[in-house]
Amino acid sequence: MLHPRIIPNLLIHKKGLVKTVNFKNPKYVGDPLNAVKIFNEKSVDELIVTDIDASVKGDEPDYELIEKIAMECRMPLCYGGGITNAKQAKEIFRLGVEKISISSAAINNPSIIPEIAESVGSQSVVIVLDVKKKFFSNGYDIFTHNGTKKTGLDPVKFIRKIQNTGVGEIVINSIDQDGSMKGYDYKIIDDVRETTSLPMTVLGGAGSLDDLGNLIKKYSIIGAGAGSLFVFKGKYRAVLINYPNQKEKIELIETFMV
């Protein structure tokens, strides 16, 4: 039987591993390679690594770092940051990565999705949407550039438009919930879940294993992503890389999955 995936989400800023709150105030939490090594030892289901500087600065993906990270990963690795074309995607795959995430480049120009999918396979193309609740209505807006640029696009409409163009997975990252550790935003997850049958991973808000469990209870097969939960411990948020061990993870899934 297929299991839901429990996925640490790691952010890279100025070559360090950071954790943000509402996409702001990146707090240094350690060396990215060291963290990847620890997560590998903890047998995580999958890792998402995102360079949050690349797209903002218009930089190329940091191949040297990607190579080093991929070398440590014995599990699936999704890399994002600065990818704008198929050539870059291919190079990243060659280094030992099997999924690439694209956000601003695909939002600004959705035609790159089929282009990249054609060369690396649609199953490996992950579209990340950073979303924020609208002030005066129930809807959501897609943001780019680390939550600084409002696109005016509606996530549900955007997904409807691109879902059959070569996308393998949708990642929904809630800017409002990011770093809050107060639980996932179910409204947007519901909206997206109703829109697409593509695999989906959600980020933003997970503060406890129960938060992951409740998500799994509601959606069964889903990627339960978390940042703070896996890099902080305790109410003072001491930096400590952690992840449920194999037994705890199976127990969690079996308790919550219906």
């Binding site: 297929l2 299991h3 699936p76 795959f93 990565v97 199953q123 490996s124 069964s220 097969i221």
Partner: protein
């Protein structure tokens, strides 16, 4: 010496990283002359069927690999699309497959998948080992999890070629074997310790 075929597609380095950690001699092969002295071949694949076949066909390596596999009985392991390439054809494209195992690649039927995520079949799923004597699964217990990422499956025309079954709404062949030709639909190079064990086993066959 294990040769990992690099025909321009796939996470080649993931394999060499694992063999490096086991201290097992291996080489990434990009041209046919590099195939000399190779005793085991890995045919990786992350991508689309047609693209993979076209690239392999024009890589200049196909004839030599074919000779090694059929005349010298060198074991070969196809991974993901690399497995699918071993079949006759694929629903995903129009290119002809290698036809080394009598199978056709078809799109996964998700009609009986109960949850709302359908395709691709992505994540950690269990394998049922049909042939318990199979050396490739030596030390790997039944119901262990491997990482899958695919929308098409390898539909074997002969049941005896199936090594393991996996359920995603229905049972499909998650690995197959014909003589010295092996293929796995999941990604051993990304399946933590079980995957490492499988790649180790392949090296020892």
């Amino acid at each position: 010496m294990i040769g990992v075929i690099d025909y321009g597609l796939g996470n080649i380095r993931a394999f060499s990283n694992i063999y490096k950690s086991f201290d097992i001699p291996h080489r990434i092969i990009t041209q046919k002359h590099e195939l000399s002295g190779i005793e085991k071949i890995i045919l990786p694949g992350v991508g689309a069927f047609d693209d993979a076949m076209k690239k392999f066909n024009t890589s200049g390596m196909r004839n030599t690999v074919e000779k090694m596999v059929f005349e010298n009985k060198i074991p070969i392991l196809g991974v993901c699309v690399g497995l699918q390439m071993l079949g006759n054809s694929s629903d995903e494209g129009v290119e002809e497959g290698l036809g080394w195992i009598d199978a056709n690649v078809k799109v996964l039927d998700t009609e009986k998948v109960s949850h709302s995520t359908k395709l691709p079949h992505m994540g950690w799923n269990t394998i049922n080992i049909i042939n318990k004597e199979e050396l490739l699964f030596n030390g790997i217990h039944d119901k262990k999890r491997f990482y899958f990422l695919h929308s098409y499956y390898f539909d074997c025309n002969h049941e005896e070629d199936i090594l393991t079954l996996t359920n995603y709404g229905f049972n499909f062949a998650s690995s197959a074997k014909k003589g010295n030709i092996y293929g796995v639909q999941f990604h051993p190079e990304k399946s933590l310790e079980n995957g490492e064990k499988l790649l180790f086993n392949f090296a020892k066959i």
